[in-house]
């Protein structure tokens, strides 16, 4: 038994243990602290009994309350499905035109569409849907692949250059980079395209490029340069330029033939959601 004695300096009892002449004062923990500790132990025991706690060989102790976070999430998701069920079934039955024309269905589509657009589309097309360089503006009335409800629904479903079997696919040749045309012809074509969009251009260069345009470009962009939505060829006569309106940008596009990728959403969004999204985009766009 250790020899407990009172320390002269502090007046506190020592524990009686001594190491090389050093003795330890016996300063007990505060009583409240001990009670918190005992309380925690009691809580832990109650918790083991009520809640899942101990791992075993085949699973774990379930606890009297049978609590399961996985089951909670599953039931919450189920409740959400039930809650959305009515709206989703309406969206399934109605045609795109019906959804857009019926005020109630359109309001539903706008709500769903806005939220889905913000989550999935806004990254490239912007929160307001006005796009940017290389990302089409979805609020105006210019469409690469068609701006009807069905066209928009199809584009969202299959994507553009997405690898989906039914993908929207167009390939602008890289006339300059792949040396399909000499640099002088690319420059002349640039003047021709600038002239097409109604802007002042070098008339002589444009005239030189006219046969080249008819031979190389008209098959997709049309003889008059108005484009062709069935093959995703943009209209060259309007004021809309996906990669920029100035000569450098146009020349760069003829040289390198850029084309962006839009993913397919078929596997990620339900058909009802894609319908709602198509109506949302169409209703808030400038028409067609």
């Amino acid at each position: 038994m250790a020899d407990r004695e009172t320390d002269d300096v502090t007046g506190t009892e020592t524990t009686g243990h001594e190491w090389d002449g050093i003795r330890e004062l016996d300063t007990p923990l505060p009583r409240w602290w001990l009670w918190v500790w005992y309380g925690s132990i009691a809580f832990a025991i109650v918790y083991w009994i009520l809640m899942p706690a101990w791992p075993g060989v085949h699973g774990y102790t379930k606890g009297l309350l049978h609590h399961s976070d996985r089951a909670d999430v599953a039931s919450d998701l189920h409740a959400l499905d039930v809650q959305r069920g009515a709206g989703a079934s309406m969206m399934r039955k109605a045609s795109l035109e019906q959804i857009e024309q019926d005020p109630k269905l359109q309001a539903y589509a706008q709500q769903v569409g806005q939220s889905v657009f913000g989550d999935n589309c806004a990254t490239c097309h912007g929160v307001g849907g006005t796009g940017g360089k290389g990302y089409p503006n979805l609020r105006d009335d210019v469409w690469l692949w068609g701006g009807s409800l069905q066209d928009i629904q199809h584009t969202i479903t299959v994507g553009v250059r997405s690898g989906h079997p039914g993908q929207r696919l167009s390939q602008m040749p890289a006339f300059g980079r792949d040396e399909l045309l000499p640099p002088a012809a690319v420059s002349d074509l640039t003047e021709y395209v600038v002239k097409l969009s109604g802007r002042p251009a070098d008339a002589a260069a444009a005239a030189r490029a006219a046969p080249v345009f008819a031979e190389q470009c008209a098959s997709c962009h049309g003889v008059d340069g108005r484009g062709m939505q069935s093959v995703g060829a943009p209209n060259l006569t309007d004021g809309e330029w996906l990669y920029g309106a100035d000569r450098t940008a146009i020349r760069g596009q003829i040289h390198a033939g850029n084309g962006g990728v839009m993913p397919t959403w078929e596997s990620r969004l339900s058909p009802e959601t894609i319908k709602a999204l198509a109506v949302y985009i169409h209703a808030n766009a400038g028409g067609q």
Binding site: Q101, V142, V279
Partner: protein, 501 residues
Amino acid sequence: MPTLIDKTPPKSPPKSYASTAVSAAARAKAKGDAKGGLYKPREPIYPKLVHGRWRTVKWAVLIATLAVYYITPWIRWARPGDLPQQAVLVDFTGRRFYFFDIQLWPQEVYIFTGLMVMGALGLFLVSALFGRLWCGYTCPQTVWTDLYIVVERAFEGDRNARMRLDAQPLSFNKLWRKTGKHLTWLGIAFGTGGAWIFYFHDAPTLIRTFWIGQGAMTAYVSCALLTATTYIFAGWMREQVCTYMCPWPRIQSAMLDEHSLQVAYLRDRGEPRGAHKKGQSWEDRGDCIDCNQCVVVCPMGIDIRDGSQLECINCGLCVDACDDILGRLGRPTGLIAYDSVDAVAARANGQKAVYKLVRPRTVFYAFALAVVSALTLWALIGRPEAELHVIGDRNPVFVRMHDGAVRNGYTLKIANRTFADHRFEIVFSGIEGVRLSQPGRAAGASIGVVVPADQVVAVRVFVTAPPNDLRPASLPGRFVVRSGDIESSAKTVFLSGAANQ
């Protein structure tokens, strides 16, 4: 307000505490408070029943105010459609306030502000003219305390009987009288809280659902709260609410002046006071026979002969008590009367008492009251039947079409305050040749939108302006919604995007 300063010397000279430190409790004990403590315990007040002119007025006001309080929620009022059929209803769920033919929306809360200011100015004016009539006659604290004293009197008898009963040890007689009184008080308190909640729900529905546990939680909580406050304030605290809790006695002393009417003891006529034997001469003495009746009837427990006091609620019961005694003595009444400080002083000096109702203060209060009343009434009458608010899209602020046309998006909130559905025609003015459209609809010069009765509808509107390169970046515009005679408009701006080119 001039106050009469009591110049009588204190009954015992102040003690010196220099010898030893004495606790506040010990000092309180020395002053006769047996329990000690920092505060003097409440001295019980046993107001005696009195009859007379002002008591009659008080009974009438009591009955009238309680009747208004209890009956109002039960008045039915025909309104079209599904609107509540209750004349006075604060409909929190529907976010409307109904008052007979007036229906207010939450954004019209300024009308209540106007009413509150009118109420305050009205109190100022009445106080400046006639003193604390509100406190003495119409304040709920006074009315319910009066009602509680009626109950107390019915169970325990009048002043002397009550004092005897309280001094007795507990007995069956005392027990049943006290129990009966408190149960009746609680019943009245419950009735008070119970009537309050009918102002917030359809009364005939709530009176059924309340008893079967189907009422709104707020109804139970409000009822419980008002039951508790009524029982405690009117049963237990009484004059202490006025003296210690209510700010109005403090504020009103700034409203009163020497011309305001207040209950006053005519010192010059009453003094010197003293007992009077029948047949004794009234020469060389005052009319006050020191019978103490003015004190025993006072619900505030004060002696009005000490001059005007903060506690006095101007209820006039001491006037009635004194007049009764004076009548029996065959002396002219009015020794205690509603009178002004100025008039009392004038009479004491042998001059003619003059009552000045028109004074700068009263003129100002009346003018301010008239202005605020007129403004509130004007705001109430001039409320538009339709209201339009416009929020311009923030992203994108504008969209340029392939031909250079520019489109702006707006959200319009159209409020239809009438009780009939209206088809509003929306037009945009300020820019030539604009076309309006809604999401997914063809464009036109205007848009028609149906707004159901008593509802707000939010409409998305796109405004497309024809191509014009010379347009400034920001153009003022105006939306107008119109349905027959009903019209509302709101200013907005149209952003052409010129600055972004």
